[in-house]
Amino acid sequence: MYARPMTVEEAARAMQAPDALALCGGTDVYPAHAGKALSRPLVDLSRVEGLRGITQGSGEIRIGAATTWSDIVAADLPPAFDGLKAAAREVGSVQIQNRGSIAGNLCNASPAADGVPPLLTLDARVEIASVTGRRMLPLAAFITGYRKTALAPGEIVTAVTVPLPGTGARSAFVKLGARRYLVISILMAAALVERDSAGRIIRAAIAVGAASPVAQRLPALEQDLRNLAPGERPSTRVAPQHLAPLAPIGDVRASADYRLDAAITVIGEALDRAVGVL
């Protein structure tokens, strides 16, 4: 089966087929089937009305599920989205960015998904639809584990929404990989920092990817950075005890210990970039 729904309702109905697999940009579905037949029923969401594009509503920015990484790079978005844009430019290659969708990145639920840390710092929420209706989940609750999400069979993601950050919010994203392009992260960090008119940090959000089954915010560090004076580099405040939420594994890219070690540096660099001292 290859369904080509035009509306969310049609898509939700098509997803009722047993074992149906949602497909949008194809950049995760096809690689998972290299050298194997793709025999599951496919529901192609790429032409569903209203699923692609970025809109600003009252108090939130809505990124349609089928919005590509290239769309995000090209979009006119507040500086708080610079980290998301930087992550978008690091997704695979230009070829992947031209097809891969934001919702696909979340649904694939890789610990190394480039989009997840910046979206966590933006307090993103995930809009889900099925034949029984729609629901919203915070991103942190949507991805439930290593390649696991809260999506029930038959559900699809229709949008990612982000509450409008304060106008002073700035963000950055740093990816550590063993080569320049087309690389899966050893580790990555996203930082979003909001400062008052005096330059003092009033809110910081930090998320780290590829260092736990699901990317994690670091609340203790966020707390410790509050009220940091404008002259101080936030990187100097990052300490091992802030990394408690992380639970890295060792894999072909690096050991768990190295990841924890590098996290201090990578987080610090993301923070310094966010406040503009790097």
Partner: protein
């Protein structure tokens, strides 16, 4: 039916809507210029433009391009930007094997449509999603910059006698940039059956088959199941006949993950749809040994009954008195070094097809070694060698792994039994699982020198993990002891090696046969010695470099053509300047440190003390054109061009007069295998001899002397001897057995002498020499290394074609960077090109090539090999540069960020 615009024309495509666009374009619309390298978006070879945006066609369901505008390489020539890019790629030598070229061209087309004058960074950003394993990317960047600036690509057409030394564009380049070059998967006849192998998911397992007949009945369209019982000849193959031990289909027990036990043959759609995890085979996983130490343990399972202790073979070279050398030394150093499995990662997975023609079988496949394929396949099929015809397709990268059989026995057997054409195309995971790798090595070494800085002694022991079957393990074990000294005078020397069998994928030939591993030990130890002696690392090497009059560790004195000292000296200006720059940079406190390292190498061209002849046939056609039967497979390195240049100058006619007869065991005499850096040297020499012989025949026709000038046009030979012109009507001459009016056939086998029990003798007639300098920047917080520059000096004897030589150097450097910093295959893990990393366009820095020409009296026009030499010194130069930057010594490759950081910390605490 899916309708879209393809290269400006409306097309309807009947493919399944979920089929990958790449496959739909290739299968139903004949766009075989769209290459499938990974089916995972990792290599970018399938890049096409969809509504002007570059996309990986392997990730797009064809249904999604309904109504879209699709552009492929086949349509490029019709656009101004596309045509400019194609010309520039050809003129610059930006296409070597050519398999990535369509993807590169499409990504570049998208860039130039948006950005008229991109800088190098913008070019890298745009091309970062396409991997190239041959070129090192430099010439690709140059070509895109040329095309952007509208620089006219100069196409040289050298006149008689001026071909050697001319940087002409490759003679077989045009189909590569047009997308029409047929690789292994590209020219399969319509309706061919398909074959897939059922492979072991375990490193070691017993197995038995379940209900094969029931499985066949349950799958209409499945024509046959093949197992060991179906093999008419012997179920064993191997590149070195006395060591041949690998079965086509395992019997009783599999010895590595990915080993075939059966194959399914039938209609393509049926075969591709099979989930082979459900094939009726019952596995019994057994304890496996994967590492050298485990395999050598007293109670280790034995891989092969006839190979006690899992030792496949040992190698040894000894000279002088090692004990006395160390006793007399003022300084000694020692170290243990370890390297990893390295995957060849050519962008073209193994592919080919076969058909039965009466009692013969014709195999068209991607290969480096047609005659070896012929003989091994014949033995498997129980047929005489002449009953097998090997027609090499274009080869999308080989680097040593396509010397061994892959698809050939499966397609041959299936075609023989079904009577129909049968094709096989490896998936990327299958290619990585089942084809040979570079040997991981554990090397223990000691070196000693006098107070003045003369090398006195070296004692080397190297164990190489050769995997489950012999492949080229014996070659590695024999080549390494000859080379472990490096290109230096070492009077007291002992090097002993072993190839150790394990339950890993076979390790085989990979650009350098073990020598790239040994230089990682030897060149770092030289730096350690220089440091202990307080000597400059480069001057220390120059002091000890081999000369034309000094003996190698096998006692060979070259007499001529030893350019290693000249190579080191060529690096001296950059060395002195960049070392100072780095030291100054490092006085600033910061996270970044810079370092500069150097390394040297020598490398014997051709087989080690074994015959390896090449034969060239060179004929004059009645119409006056020349036919060069050039049987050396051009896997991207350029033998089609370099050997024609040699032949042209030897006969004394323009290279443009030559028509190439491509490798084909029915049409071209045996030119041996494309390996061991032997084609320019050995086949080139045969071409020189054939060219000179043909020239003598031409001169004789006109009773002219050696100095006469020749011209061939419109069937007339015109001979000009000091202004006296004589003409001969070629059409009036009788035609020989190959249809030529004149024909010469000459063979060259390099003069070598056997090695005695201590490895003394003349293993190679000619060595190539080289030295690299690497400048790196290290982030000492993360252990991240960025290579900033490579300067590569190589003594190639004579650069037959400088652009091709530079291409070999740049590509070798890129593979050396990968080996140094990122490439590590662990059997069972990361069987894809996103976990197994090779350098991208952003990882290879500017490379300055310096060509040194110390002619060898043996090679054609003085030439030596360069294919493997180019890769060998890069990794140790980088590792020495890391040490200069940080004080950290990397004894394990690749030097991943984690290992570099650990070494930096270890250096600080000692």
């Amino acid at each position: 039916m899916i309708s879209f615009e393809l290269n400006g024309k409306s097309v309807n495509c009947a493919a399944d809507p979920g089929m990958r666009l790449s496959e739909a374009l290739r299968r139903t619309l004949g766009q075989t210029g769209v290459k499938s390298g990974c089916d995972a978006g990792d290599c970018g070879a399938c890049t096409v433009l969809a509504d002007r945006e570059p996309v990986c066609a392997c990730l797009v369901p064809v249904a999604q391009v309904e109504g879209a505008r699709i552009e492929t390489v086949e349509g490029l020539a019709g656009s101004d930007i596309g045509a400019r890019l194609q010309k520039a790629f050809l003129a610059r030598g930006a296409a070597q094997c050519g398999i990535c070229t369509p993807g590169m061209l499409m990504a570049a087309t998208a860039l130039l449509a948006q950005t008229a004058a991109p800088d190098r960074a913008a070019i890298a950003d745009a091309l970062g999603g396409v991997l190239c394993r041959c070129t090192g990317y430099s010439k690709i960047i140059d070509a895109v910059a040329d095309a952007a600036q509208g620089r006219a690509a100069e196409m040289l057409t050298p006149s008689s006698g001026a071909a050697v030394g001319a940087p002409i564009a490759r003679l077989d380049g045009r189909p590569k940039v047009m997308g029409t070059e047929p690789y292994g998967a590209d020219a399969v006849p319509a309706g061919a059956l398909w074959v897939r192998a059922v492979r072991s998911p375990y490193h070691r397992a017993g197995f038995r088959f379940g209900d094969l007949d029931g499985y066949s009945r349950a799958h209409p369209g499945l024509a046959r199941i093949l197992t060991a019982r179906d093999i008419p000849g012997r179920n064993v193959f191997g590149v070195i006949p006395p060591f041949a031990d690998q079965p086509v289909f395992a019997e009783g027990e599999t010895r590595f993950r990915g080993e075939a036990v059966a194959a399914v043959v039938g209609e393509r759609a049926v075969i591709e749809a099979l989930d082979l995890a459900l094939f009726p085979v019952i596995w019994d996983e057994r304890p496996a040994v994967l590492g050298i130490a485990e395999a050598l343990a007293a109670d280790a399972p034995q891989l092969h009954a006839k190979r006690a202790g899992n030792v496949l073979v040992k190698g040894r070279v000894a000279r002088g008195d090692v004990g006395q050398g160390f006793a007399d030394a003022a300084v000694t150093v020692e170290g243990v070094f370890e390297t990893s499995f390295v995957e060849h990662a050519y962008i073209e997975p193994e592919a080919g097809w076969a058909r039965r023609v009466g009692e013969r079988i014709e195999i068209t496949a991607s290969t480096q070694s047609p005659y070896m394929d012929r003989d091994d396949t014949a033995a498997i099929m129980g047929l005489p060698p002449e009953s097998i015809r090997i027609i090499p397709s274009a080869c999308g990268g080989g680097f040593g792994s396509k010397l061994d059989l892959s698809v050939q026995p499966y397609v041959a057997l299936a075609a023989w039994l079904t009577g129909q054409p049968v094709a096989m195309v490896y998936s990327r995971p299958e290619s990585i699982q089942s084809t040979t790798k570079r040997h991981p090595a554990i090397m223990r070494s000691r070196m000693a020198a006098t107070r003045e800085g003369d090398l006195l002694a070296m004692d080397f022991e190297g164990d190489f993990n050769t995997g489950a079957y012999a492949s080229w393990g014996p070659t590695v074990a024999n080549r390494v002891p000859v080379h472990a000294s490096g290109p230096y005078v070492v009077p007291n020397y002992r090097a002993e090696t072993r190839a150790i069998l394990t339950h890993c994928v076979p390790a085989g030939a990979f650009r350098g046969f073990g020598v790239p591993q040994t230089v990682i030990a030897q060149e770092q130890m030289l730096d350690m010695l220089a440091a202990k002696l307080g000597l400059d690392a480069l001057e220390f090497r120059i002091r000890n470099a081999l000369t034309e009059a000094t003996p190698t560790v096998t006692g060979q004195v070259m007499g001529d053509g030893v350019g290693i000292r000249a190579c080191f000296e060529a690096l001296r200006p950059a060395w002195q300047k960049l070392r100072q720059t780095a030291d100054a940079f490092n006085t600033q406190a910061g996270a970044m440190r810079r370092g500069v390292g150097v390394a040297g190498m020598f490398y014997g061209c051709g087989n080690t003390s074994l015959p390896n002849p090449s034969t060239i046939r060179f004929g004059v056609k009645p119409d006056g054109r020349l036919a060069l039967h050039q049987g050396a497979v051009d896997i991207g390195q350029g033998s089609n061009t370099a050997i024609a240049q040699i032949a042209a100058d030897a006969v004394g006619l323009p290279v443009a007069m030559i028509d190439l007869v491509s490798p084909d065991t029915d049409l071209t005499p045996d030119c041996g295998k494309t390996s061991a850096s032997r084609q320019t040297f050995v086949t080139g020499k045969a071409a020189e001899l054939a060219g000179r012989a043909l020239r003598r025949q031409l001169l004789r026709l006109a009773n002219a002397g050696e100095g006469a000038g020749l011209e061939l046009a419109a069937g007339i030979l015109r001979v000009d001897e000091g202004g006296v012109i004589r003409t001969v009507d070629l059409g009036a001459l009788a035609r020989g057995p190959h249809g030529y009016v004149l024909c010469a056939e000459e063979t060259f086998d390099p003069p070598t002498a056997p090695l005695d029990a201590n490895g003394q003798g003349i293993p190679y007639a000619v060595y190539g020499y080289g030295a690299h300098l690497a400048e790196v920047e290290v982030d000492i917080r993360l252990g991240l290394v960025k290579v900033l520059r490579i300067v590569a000096a190589h003594d190639v004897g004579r650069a037959i074609n400088p652009v091709l030589v530079e291409g070999q150097i740049e590509g070798g450097v890129a593979q050396g960077i990968g080996m140094a910093l990122m490439e590590e295959f662990t059997p069972g893990r990361g069987e894809n090109l996103h976990d197994y990393l090779i350098p991208t366009i952003g990882d290879v820095p500017p490379i300055d090539s310096i060509l040194v020409e110390r002619a060898s009296s043996v090679g054609p026009f003085g030439a030596k090999g360069i294919g493997e030499q180019a890769l060998i010194p890069t990794a140790p130069a980088i590792l020495n540069a890391i040490h200069h930057a940080t004080g950290a010594r990397l004894t394990r490759t690749p030097a991943t960020p984690e290992r570099v950081l650990a070494a930096i910390r270890a250096a600080r605490t000692t």
